[in-house]
Symmetry: C2
Subunit: 210 residues, 2 copies
Amino acid sequence: MGRNSDAKERILNSAIELIHGRSYTDVGVKDLCDHAGVKKGSFYHFFDSKKALILEALDRHYAAFRKHLQQKVFLSQQRPLDRFESLNMSLYRGHKKCKDQNGEVWGCLLGNLTLEMSTRDKEIQEALMKHLSDLQAMIGQTIKDAIDAGDLPSVDVSLASEAVLAHYQGLQLLAKLRNDPEVLVRHRLDIRIIVEGIAQGQQESRNQLN
Amino acid sequence: MGRNSDAKERILNSAIELIHGRSYTDVGVKDLCDHAGVKKGSFYHFFDSKKALILEALDRHYAAFRKHLQQKVFLSQQRPLDRFESLNMSLYRGHKKCKDQNGEVWGCLLGNLTLEMSTRDKEIQEALMKHLSDLQAMIGQTIKDAIDAGDLPSVDVSLASEAVLAHYQGLQLLAKLRNDPEVLVRHRLDIRIIVEGIAQGQQESRNQLN
DNA sequence: AGGATAGTTGACCGGTCGGTCTAGTCAAGG
DNA sequence: CCTTGACTAGACCGACCGGTCAACTATCCT
């Protein structure tokens, strides 16, 4: 009943695009409406507040990002540890495309919002934590796959996956700072080094005990 | 001539404190003035704009941070590669103290501002780039020291130091996300693993060529 | 003593912020 | 066909934003 429209979709897409390129605080409801071709009345028909929008946009963005990674990286036929190099290259292509289109590397939306918002809004922080922990779990599964395939000695998976997630966030921060997507290429072997290094270190400390 | 006061100092300190805990955009000139116990007129007597303030505050903050690191970490008597573990613990103590005092981990001011501001203001981006590149150079010097001491095979110092800087930024991002300074402790051995791993990887690829 | 200078005060500015609200418009269901 | 209800339009709100300004006060130099 009543009319229907794709205005909500457009607002959600505009939110992801604009907030990724600027910041949550810097993008106003007016900006969102203009970019989505919508008036304020419609905005507040679909969303209770700007905050409700970012929460929904975040879920949608992460769902798409996760799906993309699953298909292109984590479920590929490569050996598990090789997938991380692919992940670097996949991120590289994303940042490169962003720079070609907008002249700027925007970095990781989740990382950007983490540093902007996690001391300012508990709910947003929790949403970011949920998504980044899910990403860490996907990384962890890949590490487990490597162990099962015999490519890696056993290792504390949650520690190693946390190190990997941190490294990716750091690389993307530097890519944004220097406006240079090539950071991801230069450091495409880092992740393998970290995972293997942590595993080896834990093996040695086990041997020392015996 | 004329009267003198420490108002400028107080404003600079307030800027570092408040912006570290919230964000550049979220902290208004009014907030700064209230926190520093100063009226708007005085603020604009000392600074042309909010942006001029952050630029000056950033220089001051980094100078103090750098001096602290030099004394406590980089010029210590430990073996070069052991200094990175000390750096982790030094950062840990800082974030722990911050959490005890404010209930929140605020992360790295330079990293926070990088993700918030580097697509929004070229001058601020350049200031951040300058300071973070200086930090990277200090890391690089420590890696060189390790090579000279015979503790590490020769390695592409700028690549390795970039990886180290990225990792520190990533660790601090996760510490802020999870409001947990212990991240720095859990990962205190990561840096050594990264530096040694990159060096070893480069050695192997040299051997392959021969 | 008395300029000259450095610092202080707080009212004021136009613009923008997130958010509200009332009056409409359009399309499907009965 | 006409009611119902989802959607749209845009004027409006008080609060706050960064920034300006003219009057004032304290201190140093001559």
